[in-house]
């Protein structure tokens, strides 16, 4: 069902707010030297992009659980392919 402009704007605002929270969490908990606002929603987290490594993964998983009460396990690797994928994971778990 195609949204109205009001619906699309309302939903985007909620999603953008969650993305912003996750960006701040990433920067704070992983002590990244980047402005959270410069992280793109579809930016890769590993390899290309934020260039996180496997140790960062563990820290990130703990941070997400502490902040959002959502677990990220070894089976959720596909949820760490981008900031947006991680936010999808959090949204699904909280739904």
């Amino acid at each position: 069902m195609v949204m109205t402009l009001n619906e699309a704007t309302r939903r985007a605002a909620a999603r953008q707010e969650l993305c912003a929270q996750v960006k701040i969490l990433l920067v704070d908990r992983l002590s990244l030297d980047v402005d959270p606002g410069s992280i793109g929603d579809d930016q890769p987290l590993f390899g290309r992009g934020l260039e996180l490594d496997s140790i960062d993964t563990l820290e990130l998983a703990m941070a997400v659980e502490d902040t959002f009460g959502v677990t990220v396990t070894d089976d959720d690797t596909h949820s760490l392919l981008s900031l947006n994928r991680l936010v999808d994971h959090i949204e699904r778990a909280r739904a």
Binding site: V2, R15, D35, D41, D42, P44, G47, R48, G49, N84
Partner: protein, 339 residues
Amino acid sequence: MKTRFTTTDEEYAALRRNTGLIHYQGAGLLTVTGPEAAGFLGRVGTRSIDFLLEGQSTASLLLREDGTIIAETLIHCWGTDYLVEIWPAQATEATAHLLAAADGFADVTVEDVSEAYTILGLEGPSSFKMAQKYLDFPIASLAYRSCAAVEWGGEAVTLSRTGITGEYGYKFIVPSAGAPRLRAELLELGAVECGKDALDICRMEVRFAGLEHEHAGGPITPFDVGLQWMLDTGQDFVGREALEQRSRHGGRSPVCWVADAALETAPARGTAIAVSDAEIGIVTHCVWSPTLARHIGTAVVDPAVAASGQEFQLAGTAMTVRTISAPFLTATSLAVPLD
């Protein structure tokens, strides 16, 4: 680059399931040497390379003074010297830009070596097995975005792990005289020659921006294609001032979308995207994804509605497109351990 050798479907299958061989015909290659080489690349490119170590590679954007993108480059570090690799579609302008920029920079020498070397790539979940034959150390030790000097048939070859399909991916930078022999050898080992079309689909599926495709008809900035993360804060690069102005004034935001399965024809660049009561953006690029069996693409939309999970419509049709989170699919290689 050749568009295709057999069919795009066959070549796509090789890239996603086995090993594809790509000849990056027309790619730009330049050496940057001299005491100020790192300073030069940190000025003409958007990323600092001061901390790039020998054998490491990084991506950097070349911008015009107005902040629009000329090219995305890969910079390979050879000790105090650097090799700059440019995607074929942007090679001519980017090469001229770098050569001209070097004229105003003391203690740096930029040389176009594009004709002297050829770039052959291997991409696919099995490509690492083939690339391993050219290394005398375990290929798992060759990290993503790194390169190694190898000797092959008496030739000095650079082997980098700088794939662009989301699969394991390697590139051989080989003296051009030896390239036909290496190509023949890789084909003999079982690689399938792939053209640009299959490669472009794979790039889109893992959201590597295809700068030659992904635009609204004119020059683009890093913000237009979601590459703002390649702008190093604190780096005084060409185009920075213009981008700071631009970011204060805003603009449309890039999103990824998948089309309704019933959509048979790819929407043209510039096709309007709408909600039920307003137009909110335009399509910037679209390809057919064989794995997802539907059209997928990118668009720029008004920032107020830019988010993953939105249901939009191709204006003037009943076809819906749903914005999704990149990458469009998970590469096969993610489930394939490097032996």
